[in-house]
Symmetry: C2
Subunit: 359 residues, 2 copies
């Protein structure tokens, strides 16, 4: 087992990564204040891991809440089901919520914890590769609005993150690739050696070779923890974690949430950010090609949906949370391994990247 810490003063918390963590009550108990626990999961994950976690928590009063699966349900009315269950079972301020599932479950459970009685504790147990390396760490929680993804939410940190790598065994191949998109992102924005390592090990990672997967998760979480500790509420540097996400969110919104996996949209979105960076002279064509190959090797799309026009991107990107005083800002690569958040790019260069799909 590996252990990292997210350093946020009195809101610091541990990340445990390893095999068979779901059965270890001693990792959970220090973070459960009262007797009441509410496990929030979905109807895909529940049959696989809910009973196991309930057994681990046999000494507590456990309320399971099983939500419908998928990004399409990441909305207020699903969130309301959590509140209804908590109030129906009279869970008080000392209750602890546990998110057992992927990013959608983690984001919704975290937001429910942030809002229930103005804030109760929660623990993340991410079961997908994507949520293990991304959304379970850092305290971004929320739901979607028809006009944009994650538009309603809170910065609210978990008390602990438990990453049981065994849960990846049941993950569809497509979702493994989606997780690899975020892992590649960490190399691109911050760690060129990690990028080399990923190029060497991509096939073994897709095959879920245990030590390599644990290593990739730990390196990704370490980079994320470092960036979050430097800028919890995304006033500055934290935004670099969004490489490819502004384009990616537009793709997800255009296709209808859940059609493209988040990681797939981020994969194609990162390529668009790389293209723009190259157009601006910040990356060489060779570097762009190399990164595109890596994204493709992870089993991810490297072009946006064929039916998506430049004006679709323009319209959907206008509501991005990084827009300030009407001006779009993007995460681009100043060089390989170094990301910047900038509004300082040529509009024509952006349009040519957006229009590439129209050709």
């Amino acid at each position: 087992m590996q252990q990292l810490t997210v350093n946020l003063d009195d809101r610091s918390y541990p990340i445990h990564i390893g095999s068979n963590l779901l059965g270890r009550v001693e990792l959970l108990a220090p973070h459960i204040a009262g007797r009441q626990v509410c496990i929030v999961t979905d109807d895909t994950v529940a049959p696989l891991y809910l009973q196991r976690l309930c057994q681990t928590l046999a000494d507590y009063s456990v309320l399971p809440v099983i939500l419908p699966t998928g990004e399409a349900f990441k909305n207020w009315s699903t969130l309301q089901q959590i509140f209804d269950a908590l109030l129906g079972a009279r869970h008080d301020r000392r209750t602890t919520l546990i998110a057992l599932g992927g990013g959608v479950i983690g984001d919704m459970t975290g937001f429910a914890a942030a809002c229930y009685q103005r804030g109760v504790d929660f623990i993340q147990i991410p079961t997908t590769l994507l949520s293990q390396v991304d959304s379970s760490v850092g305290g971004k929680t929320g739901i979607n609005h028809p006009a944009g993804k994650n538009m309603i939410g809170a910065f609210y940190q978990p008390k602990a993150v438990l990453i049981d790598t065994d849960s990846l065994r049941t993950l569809p191949e497509r979702e493994v690739s989606a997780g690899l998109a975020e892992i590649i992102k960490y190399g691109l924005i911050r760690d060129i050696e990690f990028l080399d390592w990923l190029e060497q090990n991509m096939q073994a990672l897709r095959a879920l070779q245990p030590e390599l997967v644990t290593e990739a998760i730990a390196r990704s979480c370490a980079i994320k923890a470092e960036v979050v500790a430097a800028d919890e509420r995304e006033g500055g540097v934290r935004a670099i974690l969004n490489l490819g996400h502004t384009f990616g969110h537009a793709i997800e919104a255009h296709q209808g949430y859940g059609t493209w996996l988040h990681g797939e949209a981020v994969g194609a979105g990162m390529i668009m950010a790389l293209q723009l960076s190259r157009t601006l002279g910040w990356l060489t064509p060779e570097e762009e090609r190399r990164c595109t190959q890596l994204v493709a090797a992870a089993g991810l799309p490297v072009t946006p949906p064929a039916d998506m026009a430049a004006e679709d991107f323009t319209r959907l990107m206008a509501v991005d949370k990084k827009v300030l005083d009407g001006q779009l800002r993007l995460v681009l690569l100043k060089r390989l391994g170094e990301a910047v958040v900038t509004a300082d790019f040529d509009g024509k260069a952006l349009r040519s990247v957006l229009a590439a799909g129209d050709e």
Copy 2:
């Protein structure tokens, strides 16, 4: 004009109290980061003060959102109207929300600010006496759930509070009394001299004598600011601000939100807390009588609704946010001017107080 400060480190903020503050842009401008401002108000307050505030903010891009009036609309679907307006007008993370109205508007606007794009700035401009002395200060925000009041929300501090005492001129007499309930509360829990002062000046306060009203608001806000600074997230002492509220919330829920004004329910609820404190031997019958007279002199009910039985209270109080691990805790008076939060009271004594309405 009087000015106080709520001391919360980097979240500290000023409270300005005085006449004609709605016209003073220099009090607002330091707290507005960008060019976008969204004024949230209701259809009672909008005809009275919205135009005036828009004129004051003529240099900004102002988006007004007018919600239906009343506690019955303090729910998710009304909140959603704020999000829809903000996203429709493409307000970004640098937008500032301004709550112009009573407690319902303040609580909803604050919660909307807490959640919109995971948190934007907001300013409180409370227009009712109750919200001026209570909900506009301290950062409690939220909405109701069918199973309980303020069950969904956040602790989220405003950047500033502007209390324009001129807005009380249009306030119905019944709402003046409701505000006086919270003002009396501060004397009961923390300041026996203030209680004496209120007894001497109650009729002039009901007549809204300007200097006296300003003084009463400033003393109330000073006590609240002190308690909030000591315990922002209600881990301990802050709960004393809820004197009468556990009973009061049960009354509001039973009658249907909005039937009794919050301050009216708190008035009757405080008397129930005083009765229980007297039954426990902590207040003399004479002190109980004196306080009951003061509440009555403010124009408030001193008994719960006639049709409300003891079991109605028991059921509705079981979901109070002060319940911990299944145990009800109440704010009681150890002596006049000193409140405690305690689970240490005789169940029989409580039942006799709850049953008093049944007789």
